[in-house]
């Protein structure tokens, strides 16, 4: 049984298919990369998995259970946490309390404030934000805010983590760090689906990659397979135009 499975997942926006009949799965402990040009439907797919949107038609199955009809907060409590492409942090709330939200509400079982704080501190430690834990989250840099989102997601004890462009805007050094963070997540038993534009990172770290274009799945396979796929090269990297 796959950890998460999507069957014929489709979603239209005003006549245009943002995601069109996509089948996908991810297994326990895997890191799945999701790539494609801007507007290919990657974030929409995340929204469908995390129930920000409902697939019409299509089904999403998590650990053998059809979670399609569930509201977003229940999805989170079942163990699917996410981050956002455009950061959605609670800007006026201190960093630590941002993370505590995940710990208090996202786990699906009762967590005392003290436990939540402890968990939040651990999560912040993991993303290296401990020194900044008491300042308002809005004062962080964008890169730090991305990490904060990850911490908030981790604090909800997910089994599956959806990372949307975690590495956007990072310097090469930071990208390397972020990669090791993701690898560490896996060693903690967290399965990851990540959308990423930083190719070098996603190629290196993913076990498997799905390529979307115009809402359709055009390729799937190991990084090597995908990188060698001519269709992928054409749509994703742009036509080769020799100067």
């Amino acid at each position: 049984m796959h950890l998460l499975e999507g069957e014929g997942v489709t979603r239209y926006f005003g006549g245009l298919a943002a995601v069109s009949d996509v089948d996908f799965y991810v297994d326990q402990g895997e890191i799945l990369g999701l790539i494609g040009p801007n507007g290919a439907g990657k974030t929409t797919l995340f929204n469908l998995i995390s129930a920000a949107l409902k697939p019409k038609p299509g089904r999403i199955i998590f650990k053998g259970r059809d979670i399609t009809p569930l509201p977003a907060y229940k999805i989170c409590r079942l163990g699917i946490a996410r981050t956002f492409q455009t950061v959605k942090i609670f800007a006026d709330v201190p960093v630590i309390r941002n993370v505590m939200v995940g710990a208090l509400f996202g786990t699906g079982h009762y967590v005392s404030s003290a436990q939540a704080r402890k968990k939040a501190e651990e999560a912040l430690e993991f993303v290296d934000l401990t020194p900044l834990k008491d300042i308002p989250a809005g004062d962080l840099t964008l890169a730090q805010q991305k990490r904060l989102e990850m911490a908030r997601a981790i604090a909800s004890e997910p089994e599956l983590l959806l990372l949307d462009e975690l590495m956007a805007g990072l310097t090469p050094t930071e990208v390397t760090e972020a990669m090791s963070d993701v690898a560490q997540l896996r060693s903690r038993g967290i399965t990851v689906i990540m959308i990423e534009h930083v190719m070098q990172a996603i190629m290196k770290i993913s076990d498997r990659i799905i390529v979307l274009d115009y809402g359709k799945k055009i390729a799937e396979g190991t990084p090597e397979e995908v990188a060698a796929n001519p269709q992928v090269i054409e749509v994703y990297l742009g036509e080769e135009c020799d100067a």
């Binding site: 907060y73 959605k88 709330v93």
Partner: protein, 316 residues
């Protein structure tokens, strides 16, 4: 776990608060007469403003339904005070407002921004019209006589409701639900994806704030001898708590309390000194406050204090 956060400043503040409440609870024995009436009125606005803040402060949903919940409490008192003991009437009034807010909240809290404000505004008008029509058809008249309570009874009842409101506000603010509300206000979507049951949280807190509003209404009704729907559901009751909160500053709980107190007292002063110009002055003050004191009296005080202390004002 809160003990370690009780710094000397907090001790001092708590002590001061205690003194204030002791003075307030002894007051009717010290002075008889108008001050008690005025204080009851101020406390009423403290309850309404803080009640409004409990929900609308962190979530940024501007509710204009205060008059509806307050008015329902008002009416409950008109109908039941006398046959039932006063305490029961207050609690029933709160409970009915609570239930009403549950229903309203479940229906409307998906509306955002100005739509929510207009909806709650129209709701108040509709409740007024419906009650008016029901009274005309059922009782053949427009209003009702209310079994009254004495000035002091009403004062103490209002004081207790004020304390309940403040305690509730502090508890909600400190608790996980306060954090949840704040998260909802800042980014509703992210809150949902972090596991917060957004709808339930909003509706429950909305209803809790309606609870204290209903209680305040029931108490004031017993000071009025006679009421009718126009009196119970005055639109001012919806707008004033918002303005008072804004006037005092929405950053913390002190702001609304100060806002309500200063606003009510200032209003009274102008009303009696300049009866002809009162509303005009009031309007001008309001506009200036909104335009030039975005963080209210408390914000202004902090800024001034910051400047005095070391030239470094509070962040704008």
């Amino acid at each position: 776990m809160n003990i370690k956060r009780l710094t000397p400043a907090r001790w001092a503040a708590s002590g001061l608060l205690l003194v204030v409440f002791i003075v307030l609870s002894l007051l009717p024995t010290l002075t008889q007469g108008y001050l008690v009436t005025l204080l009851t009125d101020i406390l009423r606005y403290v309850v309404l403003t803080v009640g409004w803040m409990i929900f609308s402060g962190p979530t940024n949903y501007m509710s204009l339904a205060t008059a509806a919940f307050y008015g329902v409490g008002f009416y409950i008192a008109a109908v039941f005070n006398g046959p039932l003991p006063f305490v029961a009437v207050i609690i029933i009034a709160g409970a009915v407002s609570f239930v009403m807010a549950l229903v309203v909240g479940a229906l409307t809290l998906r509306l955002r921004g100005v739509y929510f404000a207009i909806f709650t505004f129209a709701l108040t008008l509709m409740v007024t019209s419906v009650v008016l029509e029901v009274e005309r058809v059922v009782t053949g008249t427009r209003g009702r006589f209310v079994v009254t309570e004495s000035t002091q009874t009403a004062y103490y009842a209002m004081l207790i409701v004020t304390i309940v409101t403040l305690v509730m506000a502090v508890l909600i603010r400190r608790s996980r639900y306060g954090l949840a509300l704040q998260s909802i206000g800042q980014y509703e979507e992210a809150a949902a994806h972090s596991g917060i049951n957004v709808v339930l949280t909003k509706v429950m807190v909305f209803a809790a704030s309606a609870f204290v509003m209903g209680m305040a209404g029931a108490i004031i009704a017993t000071r009025r001898t006679y009421i009718d729907p126009g009196i119970a559901f005055s639109l001012n009751t919806s707008f004033w708590p918002v303005l008072m909160a804004l006037f005092g500053g929405m950053g913390n709980l002190v702001g609304p309390v100060i806002g309500a107190a200063v606003f009510t007292y200032l209003g009274e002063l102008l009303l009696t000194r300049f009866p002809d110009l009162y509303m005009l002055i009031f309007g001008v003050v309001l506009i200036l406050a909104i335009a030039f004191m975005p963080r209210g009296i408390v914000g202004l005080a902090e800024q001034v204090w910051g400047k005095i202390r070391g030239g470094r004002g509070a962040p704008a």
